[in-house]
């Protein structure tokens, strides 16, 4: 990637990112939030994390190459979820997830 291409991507992405990160906070900051809005904000964490997990794990046509390649991340995800429920630790969940994923990928070859 050339410097020209790099600057284009950097400036464009950063402007969009800062707008998304900073503007909503200042629009809502210091106001008495209506009940409905406060309730909606409370639903953001479960919805957002479910969406992120689904985005990483689910793809239309994920089983096209056979069951096993798509099953590896799913099995690792189940293992991660069990450890997360048991320990509530980000670190142990990440370690477990990567270890199970690596082990399954190793044995699948």
């Amino acid at each position: 990637m050339s410097w020209n291409e790099f600057w284009f991507v950097l400036v464009g992405c950063v402007l969009a990112m800062w707008a998304c990160r900073v503007i909503p906070l200042f629009l809502l900051k210091g106001r008495e939030l209506p009940d409905r809005l406060a309730q909606a904000l409370g639903f953001i964490p479960p919805a957002a994390f479910a969406a992120l997990v689904a985005n990483d794990l689910l793809n239309p046509g994920m089983f096209d190459a056979g069951v096993w390649p798509a099953a590896i991340p799913l099995v690792a995800a189940v293992a991660s979820a069990l450890v997360a429920a048991k320990t509530r630790s980000l670190l142990w969940t990440a370690v477990t997830g990567v270890a199970v994923y690596a082990a399954l990928a190793f044995f699948a070859v």
Binding site: A50, A81, A84
Partner: protein, 245 residues
């Protein structure tokens, strides 16, 4: 604000994120190296853009032959989910100075959002500590990216395995949510929404559309069944006024 005690508590809250960012930052830097980015460029991206998903997408799309406009648009679409995070911190930032709120909002990520939201919900948390969680995490991310880019292809870490650290962190943040009926509606609809968006070819905005669909359906659900859904509102209500300085 920014007392020794606050710094230490912020650091201990940030440690799991920092270690996770080493695991995904190194392969991200290595990937940057493969498209000819130098450590300075990777540092600029990490400090200014500070987006894990975004910084993985840029080299992946470039390698796949996408143009800079398509890359910028796709990364920006994926990052629109940040609007939801920033907005949700408005009550906690109500009494904070403008510069502190702006700096905090500009450095929120998926992982630090999850950690700070949990801490605010427990009480005894404040915007200065939340900002330091963000900055500790960002330092780890930036350093890991620079190191990854500098050592480059000398190390051969399979990117898909290392990147699963990020997925596992999202799973932990999801599993530790309160499983009220309304929250479960939000989760199921969000996951279905993401899958549906991808099936329709809307890969870029899939996360945002899925998450918004989840929030909207959970709101509708709690309007139809007000009694069963009430526990979900407490997390948002509790957190206002938790800023003890």
């Amino acid at each position: 604000m920014f007392s020794r005690e606050h710094i230490l508590s912020a650091f201990s809250a940030a440690v799991p994120i920092m270690l996770g960012y080493v695991a995904i930052g190194l392969p991200c830097g290595i990937l940057g190296n493969t498209i000819g980015l130098n450590p300075l460029q990777v540092a600029l991206l990490s400090i200014l853009l500070y987006s894990g998903a975004g910084q993985f997408m840029i080299p992946n799309m470039f390698l796949a032959g996408s143009g800079v406009a398509a890359i910028t648009a796709s990364v920006s679409l994926v990052n629109t989910r940040q609007m939801l995070y920033a907005a949700s911190f408005a009550p906690q930032c109500a009494d904070s100075p403008r510069w502190l709120s702006a700096l905090f909002a500009a450095s929120v990520t998926d992982e630090s959002y999850g950690v700070n939201t949990a801490r605010f919900a427990e009480g005894n948390w404040s915007v200065d500590r939340a900002l330091m969680v963000n900055l500790f995490s960002q330092s780890s991310w930036t350093i890991s990216n620079i190191v990854g880019c500098a050592v480059g292809a000398a190390v051969d870490i399979p990117v898909s395995i290392a990147a699963f650290a990020m997925t596992a962190i999202f799973i932990c943040l999801l599993v530790t949510q309160k499983f009220t009926s309304a929250n479960i509606v939000a989760m199921v609809v969000a996951m279905a929404g993401v899958y549906l968006c991808k099936a329709l070819g809307l890969t870029g905005p899939a996360i945002l559309i899925g998450a918004i669909a989840g929030v909207v359906c959970a709101l509708a659900f709690s309007a139809i069944f007000p009694r069963r859904a009430t526990p979900a509102t407490t997390a948002a209500a509790q957190t206002s006024g938790g800023d003890d300085r």
